[in-house]
Structures are given as structure tokens and as C-alpha cells.
């Protein structure tokens, strides 16, 4: 029942987001199409690469289409629905959580869903196109793709929330947070087979790039229980963790009253 109420509230928020974005039709379209083109340019790298080399760590061009597809779709979905995750640190540091704290809704959910990153929609559609290029049209692969994308979005948003929540403890965390975001996306866009040992461990834990990239991409190619378990388990764990850390930090929230004394 409570779930249902929050869902209704989220729908209203998303509607407001969309209305807000549509106020500027041309910039809206430019951002969506621009981001699709942007991603395509990066993919040119792989086209050139695989023109010269057969495969890398067992991955070929078709696999890269799936990888880019899953990463772009889930990241786009995440920042389109919960786009404010990218400004959470800033909101914490400058006291802009006040707004959400004065309204009768869960602070974190309300904050996250209060802005859509328009270019995210471009990422989302690019991801779908990229997946289509891979040519896996079976209903089961499509279902696996959707599952991977949804949990990927969840991991992306949770990861963003987690690093941005550092702002409760260290003040200005925007820079660290944006670097962490860049890191997870960069690593996610390469096959996990390139990394070994401790690097691999990091990409499954501290910067869970493998769980939004290679793991779901391999899962789309072929079903395995291990990967299903990894995707769903990781999603739930990091989501819970991010909520816990955020609310832990909220007790230290200073509403922008913290003064930095220059000496």
C-alpha cells in the first residue's frame, strides 16, 4: 500500500520533469540526438579497432554492441528517471535538501526523482539502437537485456548516491563524485576479460563497473544462474547500502550553514 502511494507520487514527479524538459523543445531534441551521436562517435573506436584486430580477450564487435547497449541503456534510464543523483553532493553541501526535507515524502527518493537529465534519454535510445545492431532478437535475449538494464540503472543510481553522499562528511564532494562516475562508466565500457587480479576485484566491488557492463552483457548473450544472481544480488545490496549511508549522513546535514573559515 505504501509502495503504491510512493509510486503514484513518483509518477506525478516524472510528469512534472517531462513537462519541464518539454518547455524547451529544440534544446530537448538537440540534447537527445546530440548524445546519441556522441556515443556513436566513441563507438567508431571499436569499429576501427576490430577492423585491424579480430577480437580482444574473446570479445568481438557484436559483443561490444551489446556492451555499449546495456551500459548506455541502463545509465540513460537511471539518470533520466533519477537525474538528480548527479547533483546530490551539491545539494547536500549547499543546503538544497531543505526543500525535500520540508515536504512529507521520503527525502532521498524525492530528491533523486526531481530532475531528469535530458541527455539520458539520448543514452537510453542509443543503447537500444546499439543492442539492435547486435542482432539478438529472441524474446529471451530481449527479456534478459531489459532485466540487465533495469538492474544496471539501479546500480548506477545507487552508486551515484553512495559517492555523492560523501558530501555529508567531507563537504564538497562534487569533484570526487564526478570522477567516480567517469571511472565506473569508463571501466564498464571495456570487457572485463582485460582485467585480472586486484583490478578485477575492484571492478566488482568498489567501482562496480563489471556489474553494469560485462556481467549483464554476457548475461544477454547466454543465460547463466551465476550472472543472474550477481546482477540481482549486487543491485539489491548496493541499493540498500546507499539508502543506509544516505540516511546515516542526513543526521549530519548542515543545511548549508557550515562555514568554511579562510585563515
Amino acid at each position: 500500500m505504501k509502495m503504491f502511494r510512493e509510486l503514484r507520487f513518483l509518477t506525478a514527479l516524472w510528469k512534472a520533469n517531462l513537462l519541464s524538459a518539454m518547455e524547451y523543445r529544440i534544446p530537448f531534441l538537440t540534447q537527445v540526438l546530440g548524445m546519441m551521436l556522441n556515443n556513436a562517435v566513441y563507438f567508431v573506436f571499436w569499429v576501427i579497432f576490430f577492423d585491424r584486430f579480430d577480437n580482444v580477450g574473446g570479445w568481438g564487435l557484436r559483443d561490444m554492441f551489446i556492451l555499449f547497449g546495456i551500459v548506455a541503456t541502463s545509465f540513460g534510464l537511471g539518470i533520466f528517471l533519477f537525474g538528480n543523483a548527479t547533483s546530490l553532493a551539491d545539494h547536500i553541501a549547499t543546503g538544497r535538501l531543505d526543500y525535500y526535507l520540508s515536504l512529507p515524502r521520503p527525502v532521498l527518493l524525492h530528491q533523486l526523482a526531481s530532475r531528469s537529465v535530458t541527455s539520458g534519454l539520448g543514452d537510453f535510445f542509443y543503447g537500444l539502437v546499439s543492442f539492435a545492431f547486435a542482432g539478438q532478437y529472441g524474446p529471451q535475449s530481449i527479456a534478459r537485456f531489459l532485466l540487465g538494464a533495469i538492474f544496471g540503472a539501479m546500480i548506477f543510481v545507487s552508486f551515484l548516491t553512495l559517492v555523492q553522499s560523501l558530501a555529508f562528511w567531507i563537504g564538497n564532494a562534487s569533484m570526487i563524485a564526478s570522477q567516480a562516475t567517469n571511472a565506473i562508466i569508463t571501466f564498464a565500457l571495456y570487457p572485463i576479460t582485460l582485467f585480472d587480479g586486484s583490478a578485477k576485484l575492484i571492478l566488482f566491488t568498489l567501482i562496480p563497473a563489471a556489474l553494469v557492463g560485462s556481467v549483464p552483457a554476457e548475461f544477454v548473450r547466454a543465460f547463466t544462474w551465476t550472472q543472474l544472481f550477481q546482477i540481482v544480488g549486487a543491485g539489491l545490496v548496493i541499493c540498500t547500502l546507499s539508502i543506509f549511508v544516505f540516511y546515516r549522513g542526513l543526521r549530519r546535514y548542515e543545511s548549508g550553514s557550515a562555514i568554511q573559515v579562510q585563515v
Binding site: 507520487f9 506525478a12 512534472a16 526543500y99 520540508s102 512529507p104 521520503p106 557550515a258 579562510q262
Partner: protein, 338 residues
């Protein structure tokens, strides 16, 4: 029953100290220097349902920090508070259904959307049914005279218009208590007056209690029945506004101009000459000791009057007098301890 009761509420922040430049940043990273800043120091007060209470104090006095603790935005360092029988920082969401808040420097309306869209969203947020929301919007639009503004994207409204919409939005869910933090900041005189009038009307008609912070004495004068003056996180004065006026507004100031140059000095019992120019003077006297009538006739005998202005010191000045007395007392205490 008290709508708000606050007992020894205190809040301190850790201020991070950092020297400028690369070396400063590195040092702050390795060994951060922290200093405790006490924003609110054990204040206690009560507010009745339907009261109009003003919180006034200079910037950084702790007004906003107090109001943020009362809405559950900030967790206090120590002390107790109950707002409409809720403990704000523990029952924030429940409390939020019954209070409205306006933070002058933190707009709540969606910037790119017409105000009405935010109103409808708020209807959902407060779980009102759609018909009720619409009726309420119509009522508030009339009360705040914003019917013609509701369909315009907020970014295209003037600051005064936007603020009227902000206050209206905060009343959408018929709160029992309205907390306004610097609602008139940056507004011109006319816009300020419109906001004050409407807030007052809502207090009359719906019995909504108003707690208002401001550094503008005009807000307090026009709106509040009772005032709390806060400085350095402590309450230094609390009483009815009328009492404050009676106590301090007895000093009058007179500006006079004559048609000829002033040659001799003006002296009159009980009157202090502040400034003498070639054609005019500035005087001050206490109206309890010397009547206005006598001073004026004295001035008329002195020469041919061209112009006379009699003014009260502004509430602003009165309050400044209270701050200054407080600062002197603090200094005295500090020396006393030493």
C-alpha cells in the same frame, strides 16, 4: 495548548578551517582543523496556536537554524522541541503534512514550469484528492491575487509575484502552522506589503499560526503581535510588539528648516541638538519629558519655519539599540570573567 514549545534547544556546527592555495588544501586534507560554531545556544520559548510570532536578529544570529530545527531539516545538538505535538527531527514526514514552510532564499516552485503545475504536484505530494486541490488553488489564487500569474512559467515572474505564489503554495494543504524564513528578502516596498497583508488575512480567516523570521523590522511591525529578538544564538528580548514600541518609541527626532540663516545657538530644556546647518537643525527629545507641542512652539519662536519633520526612530533602530546593549553586556561579561 502550545503549538510550538522549545526547551533549551541548541545546535552547533563544525566549521572547517582551511588556508588558501595548494598548501592550505593539502594541509586541510591531511590534518583538518575544525572549530565548533554554536549557532543556537539553548533557547527556550513557546508559541500558541494562531499566534503571529516574529523572530528577528542580525544575519547569522541563529534564526534560520532555529526554524530549520523546528521543521525537521536539522537535527539539534541538544534540547527538546515539539511542534504540533511532533518531535520535528524524528517525525519529519508526519509533521510536514500539518505545517507549511517558505524559505525566502530557497524557492520551492519549479523554475521552468507555470506555478499551477507545482501546485498540482504539491497536491499529489500532500495526498490531496484532485477536486480538493483544484478548489484550494482557486481559493488561494483569489486570496493572493495570482489568478493571472498561475499559467506563466515561474522564471518569467517578478520576484514579488513569485513570492506571492510561493506563499500560496505553502498554504495549499491547509497547514495549521506556517513557518516563513525571510519571506520578504529582496522585495520592494509594495511587494512586501502585499505579502504581509495576505499572510495576515490567512491568519485571520483560517487561524493558521505564523512564525516568521526576518532581519527587516518592517515585517515584524506590520505582521507580528509578539517578537523574539535573537543575537549570537541567544534570545535577548521577548515581548509583545506593542510593549516593545511603548518602551522604546518615546524618542522623537525633529528636522527643521528656516527662511533665514541661523545665527544664535538653539537651546531648549530637554532637547538635544544633534546637528546645526546654515538654514536648519536636527534635534532629538524624549516625548515623555517634553511634549511635542512645547518643542514645536519653541522652534516657531526661534525663527520663521519653512519646514518641520517629526519622526519616530524606526523599529530597526530600536532593535539595533537592543543589540548594542546586548553586545555591551557581553563585552562586560567577558571582561568580568577575565
Amino acid at each position: 495548548m502550545a503549538a510550538i514549545s522549545v526547551h533549551r534547544l541548541a545546535k552547533s556546527f563544525e566549521a572547517r578551517q582551511k588556508a588558501a592555495g595548494m598548501r592550505g588544501s593539502l594541509r586541510a586534507l591531511v590534518r583538518p582543523v575544525k572549530r565548533l560554531v554554536e549557532a543556537v545556544r539553548e533557547i527556550s520559548f513557546e508559541m500558541d496556536q494562531a499566534e503571529l510570532l516574529g523572530f528577528i536578529g542580525p544575519n547569522g544570529a541563529g534564526k534560520s537554524t532555529t526554524i530549520k530545527m523546528l521543521t525537521g531539516i536539522l537535527h539539534p545538538t541538544s534540547g527538546h522541541a515539539s511542534v504540533l505535538d511532533f518531535v520535528p527531527w524524528k517525525q519529519r514526514q508526519k509533521l510536514a503534512f500539518h505545517i507549511g514552510t517558505v524559505f525566502g532564499q530557497r524557492p520551492q516552485l519549479w523554475y521552468h514550469l507555470p506555478a499551477v503545475d507545482t501546485f498540482l504536484l504539491f497536491g499529489k505530494i500532500y495526498e490531496m484528492d484532485d477536486r480538493e486541490t483544484e478548489r484550494r488553488i482557486a481559493f488561494l489564487a483569489e486570496a493572493f491575487e495570482i489568478q493571472h500569474l498561475l499559467e506563466t512559467p515561474v522564471r518569467k515572474l517578478s520576484l514579488g509575484q513569485r513570492m506571492r505564489c510561493e506563499v500560496a503554495a505553502s498554504l495549499l494543504h491547509k497547514p495549521r502552522l506556517l513557518l516563513l524564513d525571510e519571506p520578504s528578502i529582496g522585495l520592494d516596498v509594495v511587494a512586501k506589503q502585499r505579502i504581509r497583508d495576505t499572510v495576515r488575512r490567512m491568519n485571520d480567516e483560517e487561524g493558521v499560526g505564523i512564525l516568521l523570521t526576518s532581519h527587516d523590522a518592517g515585517d515584524i511591525e506590520a505582521l507580528c503581535k509578539r517578537v523574539i529578538i535573537i543575537n549570537h544564538g541567544q534570545i535577548i528580548y521577548q515581548d509583545r510588539v506593542s510593549a516593545l514600541k511603548r518602551q522604546y518609541l518615546t524618542t522623537k527626532q525633529v528636522d527643521v528648516r528656516y527662511d533665514r540663516e541661523i545665527e544664535t545657538a538653539f537651546t531648549f530644556p530637554g532637547v538635544q541638538v544633534l546637528k546645526t546647518g546654515r538654514y536648519g537643525m536636527k534635534l532629538r527629545f524624549d516625548s515623555r519629558r517634553t511634549s511635542v507641542e512645547r518643542v514645536i512652539s519653541g522652534l516657531a519662536e526661534f525663527g520663521n519655519l519653512v519646514d518641520v519633520t517629526i519622526s519616530d526612530p524606526s523599529l530597526e533602530r530600536v532593535i539595533r539599540t537592543i543589540y548594542e546593549a546586548d553586545e555591551t553586556r557581553r563585552k562586560g561579561e567577558r571582561n568580568g570573567h577575565a
